[in-house]
C-alpha cells in the first residue's frame, strides 16, 4: 500500500476518531471502542476493517472476541504521509500566491 492510500485511510474524520480512541485505550474490542465514539459498533467495525487493510491496526482473536491494537510503525508512516501531503499543499499555495500577486 502506498502513502496516498495510507493517508486516505487515516485522513477520514470518523476513522481518525476511532484511531484516536484506540490509541488512548491501547487494546480494545469494537464494542468497547463504540462506547468512546458516537458511532454504532457496526460503524466502528467498518472503520477498523479499513484501518486493518491499511495495516495501521492489528487484530487478535481472544475467545469469542476480536481485539484491536495500533501498529505504531504504520501509524508513524501514516503521520509522515499526512505531513508530506500538507507540505505539498503549502508549496502549491505559495505558487498560487506568487502567480496571483504577479498578475495583480
Amino acid at each position: 500500500m502506498d502513502d496516498e492510500q495510507l493517508w486516505a485511510a487515516v485522513a477520514e474524520p470518523g476513522r481518525r476518531r476511532v484511531l484516536d480512541a484506540l490509541v488512548a485505550l491501547g487494546e480494545a474490542t469494537p464494542t468497547v471502542l463504540a462506547r468512546e465514539v458516537p458511532f454504532t459498533r457496526q460503524a466502528v467495525s467498518k472503520h477498523l476493517a479499513v484501518l486493518l487493510e491499511a495495516g495501521v491496526v492489528a487484530q487478535r482473536r481472544d475467545g469469542r472476541e476480536v481485539r484491536y491494537t495500533v501498529r505504531p510503525e504504520r501509524l508513524e508512516a501514516a503521520v509522515r504521509a499526512m505531513s508530506a501531503a500538507a507540505a505539498r499543499w503549502d508549496a502549491r499555495l505559495q505558487a498560487i500566491k506568487r502567480l496571483a500577486e504577479a498578475e495583480r
Binding site: V10, A11, E12, R15, P72, V79, A85
Partner: protein, 154 residues
C-alpha cells in the same frame, strides 16, 4: 472546520484574481499538474496529468463538485479511472477564498475517503461537534509514538 489537512495563505491580490488562479486550466497548470483537463462546472469529469522526475506519467481523475465564484471551489480526486467519484473512493479538496486586509485569504482543506458513505453535511456536523483538530490528534499520536519508542529502548 478542523480537518486532516488544512492550510491557508494570505495573498496580496483580490479574490477574483485568486479565483482565476485556482480554477482556470491555463492557470492551474502553472502551479499544480503538468497537464490538466478541467472546467469550473459542477459535475465536470476531467483529469490531471503529472510527469514525475523519476519518469513515467501519472494520470489522476478529478470530478468538480462545487463552483461558487469567487468564494468556493471543491473537487474530488484520486478515484479509479472510469468510475464515478464518491465519498468512498476519492478524497475531497475544498478551496475557500475570503477577502482579508485588501487581499485574499486562500484556505485549502483535503479530507480522506469515507468508506461508510455518510452524507457530507452529517460528517461535517459531526466533525464540528467532536473534533478538536487534526493537529491536536497528530500531537497526541506523536507523543504516544515517542513514549512507545522510549519504552522499547528502556
Amino acid at each position: 472546520m478542523p480537518a486532516p489537512i488544512e492550510t491557508s495563505v494570505h495573498i496580496d491580490a483580490p479574490v477574483e484574481v485568486v479565483w482565476r488562479t485556482v480554477s482556470e486550466p491555463d492557470q492551474v497548470v502553472r502551479w499544480f499538474a503538468d497537464e490538466i483537463d478541467l472546467r469550473a462546472t459542477p459535475g465536470y469529469e476531467g483529469s490531471m496529468t503529472f510527469h514525475p522526475d523519476a519518469g513515467g506519467t501519472v494520470l489522476v481523475p478529478i470530478t468538480v463538485e462545487t463552483v461558487e465564484p469567487p468564494r468556493r471551489f471543491t473537487y474530488r480526486w484520486g478515484h479509479p479511472a472510469g468510475t464515478a467519484a464518491d465519498p468512498g473512493n476519492s478524497t475531497l479538496v475544498e478551496f475557500t477564498l475570503t477577502p482579508e486586509d485588501g487581499g485574499t485569504r486562500l484556505r485549502v482543506v483535503e479530507t480522506g475517503h469515507d468508506d461508510l458513505g455518510w452524507p457530507r453535511d452529517q460528517q461535517d456536523a459531526y466533525v464540528d461537534d467532536h473534533n478538536d483538530g487534526w493537529t491536536t490528534h497528530l500531537g497526541r499520536l506523536e507523543q504516544l509514538l515517542a513514549r512507545r519508542s522510549a519504552d522499547a529502548t528502556r
